[in-house]
Symmetry: C2
Subunit: 321 residues, 2 copies
């Protein structure tokens, strides 16, 4: 087996698993997962891989379905999150097994502990589900205890995005990785649970950032590399301007100093910096198609403790927005 | 750890996970899973447990949701099955962890290989999803290639229920069970896949009987006992008549000779007989509330190679239909 090879964690962005702007259909989902699995497979030689994934478009669709199905009561977000862990866990597991011959793959339904006193619960910021008019939004806030916020000229539900504290299935993940298996886990950042005050846990309606969960997992598994794969090929300075340039290599402090906005690259930058600072390993942010190069250090934004202040590309290139 | 204790597989019926006739709401689901976990926990001392589960009501609801959500294309049954593995895997995993202190629990998204040449694919019998009028049913058969059959005076889709051939995640399940962990797996009988003719697998719209998958898993794990837990406390003779009597203990041949109908106890009887014949171990069919007693041999219908021709209770008792 390959139980003594170094471990790398590869986080597949929710948008990396579905082309931005493409409708979420079964066919589109399968094609995207197949492409992702092919890229992960190209990185499999000589390392053990743990694959995590986002679930934004997928859980969004389940929220729409449970809200639009009038005959029943809507299902809470923790359960819908778990459904996407099954759905995407299955599809990714299947495609990885098809793409990689020399190892077994298993997807684990992963709970992640968060702290009920996390300040995020007092200030929910993560939009979820359909848009509503103001009157309906206020009625839902009243009836269901939801937090609602304006999103443009409509309203949407917001939930907290608390810090991941502990990956509850870590012993199982470690056991399988130790045996040289490929593990798919922490989908959507993991299903959030809190202490129930009685020695156990209960589910909570929140969204854990999947890059931060992937970082926590990579640290706990003593991984030597963390790749955050998305639909952009690097972190950029002056992003969205004619002068945009990719950051090739950078130390954590300098990367943090860019102050990237929370909604876009922010969580990836934070996850990459934490991993590098806590382990001295390599983190990389870049294109889904380049998982091997991200892990080898030859593509994307490479974040390293001994990285330069900031090595920036000299040419502007066209990239998908 | 408890890695040297004997292994038992406990199959929780879909109806055992939701009181018969009760609407499937998040609250009802959680309460049912908590009750099931409590019963499993009572059986945990001195053995390693693997828990499987049905998904009839749950996948039925997802089919209704995906069919009623007009904005999208309906999702195929294999993916919906996987969603219930995430959903129920999470809820059962959580409640087992809350009920049992001395071991870790993980739910594994499980694929099960079936044979595309299985005669079941030529004769689909398993009703799935909503009822339709005849015209609509014929249009759906045309448009989607579905098999439709009359169900009373309406029509419904039918899918094949092929034999499980191989539990693809067996190496991962074996690894975790070997380490003394509690594993939840093969939900809904497992997500059915077939050989894709190119060395890999692809999902297929079918339903694998979860008792037969549980039997296959129990044989492969060299379990010494298989408990099939449902909402009836035993196999009965003259079921549904004033003369109904529970079968307490029986040898496989005598149990098979009862010829129980496929829709009710049939698959449980077949799974119990196969396990006993292939391993010489103990199989039991009975009430969800009595998992410990089923495994100890003191409740339900006990099926054993050295069992009697048929030990039948002498009194008729009231049982839920």
């Amino acid at each position: 087996m390959n139980g003594d090879q170094p471990v790398a964690v590869v986080a597949l962005g929710g948008n990396a698993l579905l082309r931005r702007g493409e409708p979420l259909t079964p066919g589109a989902q399968l094609r995207a997962a197949r492409a992702a699995a092919g890229s992960v497979a190209a990185a499999a030689a000589g390392r053990r891989l743990v694959v995590t994934h986002g679930n934004g478009p997928q859980v969004g669709l389940l929220v729409l379905m449970t809200e639009s199905y009038q005959a029943g009561e809507p299902w809470p977000l923790d359960v819908l999150d778990a459904e996407t862990e099954g759905q995407l866990g299955y599809i990714i597991e299947l495609e990885l097994d098809n793409a990689i011959d020399d190892r077994d793959t298993a997807a684990i339904v992963t709970r992640v502990l968060v702290d009920e006193r996390d300040p995020a619960f007092g200030n929910p910021t993560k939009f979820i589900g359909p848009v509503y008019g103001e009157d309906e939004a206020r009625a839902l806030a009243e009836r269901r205890g939801w937090h609602m916020r304006p999103d443009g000229d409509r309203w949407r539900r917001v939930v907290a995005s608390p810090e991941p504290k502990r990956v509850i299935q870590l012993p199982a993940i470690r056991q399988l990785v130790g045996a040289g298996m490929m593990v798919v886990c922490a989908g959507g950042g993991g299903v959030p649970v809190v202490d129930d005050g009685d020695g156990g846990h209960r589910g909570v309606e929140a969204v854990i950032d999947k890059d931060l969960s992937s970082c926590l997992l990579a640290v706990e598994l003593e991984a030597d590399a963390l790749a955050l794969a998305t639909d952009v090929d690097a972190v950029y300075v002056d992003w969205g301007t004619p002068n945009q340039r990719p950051v090739h290599a950078v130390a954590p402090d300098a990367l943090r100093a860019l102050g990237l906005p929370p909604g876009s690259m922010g969580p990836k930058v934070e996850a990459a910096c934490r991993f590098v600072e806590q382990t001295g390993g390599r983190a990389a942010i870049g294109a889904l198609e380049q998982v091997r190069e991200l892990l080898d250090g030859s593509a994307g934004t490479q974040v390293r403790l001994d990285g330069p202040e900031m090595a920036i590309g000299t040419t502007t290139k066209e990239v998908a927005p």
